[in-house]
Amino acid sequence: MANKKPKFAVFKMSSCDGCQLSLLDAEDELLELLGGIELAYFPEASSRMLKGPYDIGLVEGSITTPRNVEEIRQIRKECKILITIGACATAGGIQALRNWKDVKEFTKIVYASPEYISTLNRSLPVSSYVHVDFELRGCPINKYQLIEVLKAFLNHRKPNIATRSVCVDCKLKGNVCVMVARSTPCLGPVTQGGCNALCPSYDRGCFGCYGPMDSTNTSSLAAEFREMGETNYEIMNVFRSYNAYAEPFRKESEANEK
């Protein structure tokens, strides 16, 4: 590590804050982390706000407004390494459900004076606008994975973040598969691991929080769900959640629209 402590910043676009909070939640590691970095900008945690440039910037949230676009371009200029965290920042998040609808209609229904609302038609990941150095998946992200990514970047090595299925973690944990032993639909076989197979460990099917894994065969899994009695509408909804706009999930949900 360089002698001078790397300057670290955390930014937020359109999101719920859950992912940034994972960082605060990493209590034990946080103190150690703070020893190794200079926390220059993290409004959620500290009122101290140092100006850029920053060595590492973490970005939470999707790009949904013209202001987000301006901000993210500026942030990219100020960060040597830009890491996006969470399903919003890496796939557009749950708010990407708007991408299938007319946003103007929504603003008319929700706001008394919609003319003051300036928003984009689609919610998109940060990488649709600027170059991203590393995308950390999850809704929310796993704090151990976040610490691993930070450890890796601080030590100039590749993060050990696997891109394979949830099933591998599920089996490593010794779980009994809910698809096979209970006929519960599970997105594990097409979803990237990272949560340590949280839902299957509690006898539920995976919801796909970590987005598509590196090589998905969603149509085969959807066919299996159909075999298990799910309707096309249900299958569309299963794929259309936190990572709805990640391409393989988007395509599968669209294939089941009718």
Binding site: S165, C167, K171, P189
Partner: protein
């Protein structure tokens, strides 16, 4: 051959514990029969059987109280000999560079209760992988040489079993300390025991037993015959090596690729699959490093990534690699097939892809 009462099995477990073994056996958990530490006969899945098909598993209540009346479940003994996650060593930075300390001070002494014949063969196969003269895995071998194996002959076969085709069962022929055959009839529940090693005989000296009668031996034979004639599946192994080598471009692979999820479940549950990944993890300061080994799989895209790219980008290439290695190139590599016919990959595939059926599909495609 000796005959012991059902309750004597509890004494066997007790004696092994007294001898310092960590006793592992079948138990019911989360709707399946898994392998875990047991402390007495009550922990065994009394009266539980299972119903298995491609992509399907359900526990089923039996009416005979059998302790070993089930077929191979989702887990195998591999998880003890070749753990899914294992710390290999750690290193600390110091003024001279760094110092390495091996991480595995602990080598549990295991007693395995209920090892099926196919599973014994799977252990023999992994022996060739982890101790083959060229390469020896420290952890595996330290554990392996101290295990006590109580095999159990199969009295019934599962719907996805095909050990007869692979010549790995259903009778345990060697490699066990003791082998049990469970017999249940109207008013009796007992085990016929065969001692395989001096270690096994030493244990049996402590257990009350009688010399097996002709009828008891005949009952044990019948149980095995029943399993043998009720195999759920068959796999035609004649000329399998050249069949797979010559059919690299067969369209059957495209058909499989349409269904295969590349989820890696088949390799995780397979008792012979041995692929792993090794990762170094540093702490935040970079002063402390750990090296971990984790199960990996030829179905994981990253697994076949090398400098400059990946040579098995398609799911088709990855499934073909897996099956061809398992059934054909394994023979060239280790002198033995990599498949013991336990059926786990068939049962635990979420979309029910069946290795036996795919072999026959390739054969059929040639006749057309």
């Amino acid at each position: 051959m000796k005959t012991i009462s059902k309750d004597s099995l509890d004494k066997i477990i007790g004696y092994l514990k007294y001898k310092g073994y960590k006793v592992i056996g079948p138990s019911v958990r989360d709707g399946a029969i898994i392998y875990d530490e047991i402390s007495c006969i009550e922990d065994l899945p009394a009266g539980w059987g299972d119903e298995q098909e491609a992509g399907h598993y359900r526990l089923r209540k039996r009416n005979d109280g059998a302790l070993f009346g089930y077929a191979a479940g989702p887990q195998s003994w591999k998880k003890f000999l070749f753990p899914g996650k294992l710390k290999l060593w750690e290193a600390e930075k110091n003024s001279k560079g760094f110092e390495i300390t091996p991480a595995n001070g602990q080598f549990p002494k295991y007693a395995f209760i209920g090892v099926r014949s196919c599973e014994l063969h799977a252990v023999f196969i992994q022996d060739k992988v982890f101790n083959n003269g060229m390469f020896s895995d420290t952890y595996y071998n330290k554990i392996r040489k101290n295990i006590f194996i109580a095999a159990v002959n199969c009295a019934e076969a599962g719907k996805t079993c095909f050990c007869v085709s692979m010549k790995t069962g259903p009778k345990a022929e060697e490699g066990y300390d003791i082998a049990l055959t469970e017999i249940i009839n109207q008013d009796e529940h007992y085990f016929v025991v065969d001692e395989g090693t001096p270690k096994g005989s030493e244990l049996m000296e402590q257990i009350e037993s009688l010399t097996s009668t002709e009828e008891q031996l005949a009952a044990a034979d019948d149980a095995l015959k029943n399993a043998e004639s009720n195999m759920g599946r068959t796999l035609e192994t004649d000329g399998i090596k050249s069949l797979l080598y010559k059919n690299h471009a067969n369209t059957v692979w495209d058909q499989i690729a349409k269904r295969c999820l590349s989820c890696a479940n088949c390799t995780m549950v397979c008792p012979t699959c041995f692929c792993s990944n090794v990762e170094d993890v540093t702490d935040l300061s970079g002063d402390h490093t750990e090296r971990w080994r984790t199960w990996d799989s030829c179905f994981n895209l990253d697994y076949s990534k090398v400098a400059g790219g990946n040579f098995r980008t398609s799911i088709k290439a990855r499934y073909r690699q897996w099956m061809t290695h398992k059934l054909a190139s394994w023979i060239d590599q280790f002198g033995i097939s990599g498949c013991v016919g336990c059926g786990r990959c068939i049962t635990w595939c979420p979309v029910g892809i069946d290795i036996t059926k795919e072999v026959s599909n390739i054969r059929k495609s040639l006749k057309n």
